[in-house]
Amino acid sequence: MTSLPLTLTINGHRHELEVDPRVTLLDLLRERLELTGTKKGCDRGQCGACTVLVDGKRINSCLALAVSHDGAKVLTIEGVSHGEDLHPVQAAFIAHDGFQCGFCTPGQIMSTLGLIAEAQAGDDPERIREGMSGNLCRCAAYGGIVEAVLEAQEQLAKADRRTAA
């Protein structure tokens, strides 16, 4: 099997790669680029642990062939914070105990970023619950997750207002 060339911008860094076409975006991140924050829970689009943003949209990276996303911009959990400065979503997950074992957490956080960008849920907790239902949490930290989303949105909106002012 010949490898195919692939260029991806991941967390702002450009990667020129050669990959087996069978490799999923998830396995590329985890097994070849040492970006292991993105997790594999089911590998079949049924749990959301592998959620990343591709060109700004949340998708299941397990059901994405890496080669099919040639040229894309990918954001993973490793690219969300800057050093010790947590993104408001990350800080809110800690503050509201929106996780226990932490395995689904990168996917939950990436999904939250996607959800906020989609701007469909607003501050309606029911819409947030529905919008976050593609991310299973077996520890069932769902209540904390919803609270974290609400608070993070509020913080981000405040920051936006400050910027605007």
């Binding site: 076409p21 069978r22 689009g45 959301g48 949340r58 998708i59 299941n60 397990c62 996607g114 907790p125």
Partner: protein, 352 residues
């Protein structure tokens, strides 16, 4: 998965040429194809990636008042297109009740039409499945089949079609645009999906190499926008396939039904247009009595294919409720829990 050739054509003709070889599969969003490949259910020799084809990713208003949706428009983009959601609210609701936000961001319109069944015996390659391996037999018969078909099934296959999106589409007379060796052709969605008969492997009207390039909604489809709902019974509140579902759309004048559309999901190998029920509704009083009669008509030919007799009664009830909901009027905003019976419960805060 096995090794495959990966080809990314840049034009539709190139795509058709690339896929002309036996053993080819088109890749768009990949949400179903990759799942099938990982499970060993499908093993293409050649994957033709059409996800970048230009011109398939647009939503266009047609001169005749209809709408053309490119095959590569993502489910989420379509559902969140404000004008689309206003004109075809039941379709938007169905889209948003399917899968998860992540999957809807990847899954495409064309791919949704080609979703394979969730029958566990189809997925379990150690089981006999006529769909996966013609002539092998059907282990779903006599197996764990409480969620299997109650309409249009055969002794060769009792699987159901899993799509939500297709249910209101078929109700609204959607047409599939197909590009093939002999050029472009149009097939109604109702005719596009096939019942299993003795050839359950033939799920639709595509010939090898054919490519779905778009879906059209006729002008008339938008006339139901004030009274159209999609309703879906599930075994968890979200991120679950339908046990049964129904799309209902009405045009009501002076208490009489002037036009009626009804389609069912989760009951057959195809999204099920309930024309006999529509005939009952046409001209009838817009009330529960008519809807019950319509439900009886819709399910007149239903029969259990296994431990699933309850689905017949459940479908009868969802028909009535979907029609009642449609009659009550399309909500001003899509409910927080799209298509859910619980969509009317207001949201509360955790630990409230």
């Amino acid at each position: 998965m096995k090794n495959f050739d990966y080809i990314r054509p840049t034009t539709i003709p190139d795509a058709l040429a690339a896929a002309a070889e036996p053993g080819s599969a088109y890749l768009a969003g990949g949400t179903n194809l990759l799942d099938l490949m990982k499970g060993g259910v499908t093993s293409p020799d050649r994957v033709v990636d059409i996800s970048r084809l230009p011109e398939l990713n647009r939503i266009e208003r047609l001169a005749d008042g209809g709408l053309r949706i490119g095959a590569l428009v993502r489910n989420a983009d379509l559902a969140h297109d404000p004008e689309f959601a206003r004109s075809y609210p039941a379709v938007a609701e169905a889209l948003l009740s399917g899968a998860s936000a992540q999957l809807r961001n990847a899954a495409t319109v064309g791919g949704n039409l080609l979703q394979r069944t969730r029958c566990s015996y189809f997925y379990d390659t150690a089981s006999a499945c006529n769909k996966r391996e013609p002539g092998a037999g059907c282990d779903a018969l006599g197996g764990e089949n409480r969620l299997h078909a109650v309409l249009g099934w055969s002794d060769a296959c009792i699987a159901t079609h899993p799509s939500d999106f297709c249910v209101p589409l078929v109700a609204l007379d959607a047409v599939v645009e197909i590009e093939g060796k002999k050029g472009r052709r149009h097939v109604t969605l109702e005719e596009f999906h096939r019942l299993p008969g003795q050839t359950p492997q033939r799920e639709n009207g595509l010939e090898p190499g054919d490519l779905i390039v778009g879906v059209r909604l006729p002008a008339e489809a938008a006339s139901f926008s004030a009274n159209a709902r999609y309703l879906k019974v599930r075994e968890r509140t979200s991120y679950a396939f339908a046990v049964v579902s129904a799309a209902a759309a009405l045009v009501v004048e002076g208490g009489k039904i002037r036009q009626a559309r009804l389609a069912l999901g989760g009951v057959a190998a195809k999204p099920w247009r309930a024309r006999s029920a529509e005939a009952v509704l046409l001209g009838a009083d817009a009330d529960e009595t008519s809807f019950v009669r319509a439900a009886d008509a819709a399910l007149a030919d239903a029969s259990p294919s296994g431990d699933n007799a309850f689905k017949i009664e459940l479908t009868r009830r969802i028909v009535v409720r979907a029609l009642m909901s449609a009659l009550a009027g399309t909500p001003g905003r899509l409910p927080a829990l799209p298509a859910s019976p619980f969509s009317s419960i207001p949201g509360v805060r955790h630990d409230a």
